[in-house]
Symmetry: C2
Subunit: 148 residues, 2 copies
């Protein structure tokens, strides 16, 4: 799984058009302020280890959110972060699970719909920890962290 975590003044989106893998939803737009926007690409390798991948992804997201003292999280599907994507079905399951478990531990979570073209606006704060990329694997010891 690839993550791009952006500490945002705001993130707003509006679903504009369905792709053929569009999720059924009536949440076609949303906005959050003072949030951690988590652009997420679920990858092929995640399919056979969904449990561990979700756990490792949440560990990273929560660690960053705590460090930034942020309680609002946007889970934003973003296939462009990877050229080795999981099936739409698995990607949707994992994204829904991430939303559910972040809420369970007390975060406000806005999840943008999977498989829709979306317009969006984002404002990145620009401090040294406001843009972080993570490669989530089953074995997080050799993870690829980018602090720049």
């Amino acid at each position: 799984m690839k993550l791009l975590l952006i500490h945002s003044d705001y993130l707003e989106f509006k679903a504009t058009e369905k792709t053929k893998i569009a999720e059924d939803t009536d949440r076609l737009e949303g906005k959050m302020e003072e949030c951690l926007t988590v652009f997420t690409a679920v990858e092929k390798g995640d399919e056979k280890n969904q449990e561990i991948i979700v756990k490792n992804a949440l560990d990273e997201i929560i660690k960053v959110a705590k460090n930034l003292k942020v309680n609002n999280i946007v889970v934003y599907p973003y296939a462009h972060l990877s050229s080795d994507l999981a099936s739409p079905k698995v990607a949707k399951e994992i994204l829904i699970e991430m939303e559910k478990r972040l809420k369970e531990v007390g975060y406000n979570v806005l999840r943008a719909p999977f498989g829709w073209y979306k317009s969006f606006k984002i404002s990145c704060k620009g401090h040294p920890l406001s843009e972080l990329s993570r490669k989530i694997t089953c074995d997080m010891k050799e993870r690829d962290e980018k602090e720049k």
Copy 2:
């Protein structure tokens, strides 16, 4: 090289802090409207083929810009798109060359400074061709295109 091309209502940035590989520049902020924002990560493999990589990258960028009827282009360094980056020196040279050659063929170009933490705001239009990712290689036949 990895590109993420976003057809934007606007892109604005403000350099906030230097990293140790910061470019010397007095252009610390900028804004463009109705533009193609080209988030760019120059990669290790680009180092020994700079000429061809720049040419292939420009071919892709110009093809997308023409298709979108856009004359404004933002070249925005974005290391988070890759985990296999070129040296800062080579990355800067390639980004500067891309700016120069896009201008030579008539585009308005805004290049964000390399190696600075930057705050930015972006508005993605959200139509089906408003977010495109490209992997630029020397041999563009087996390129990895993502239309979604």
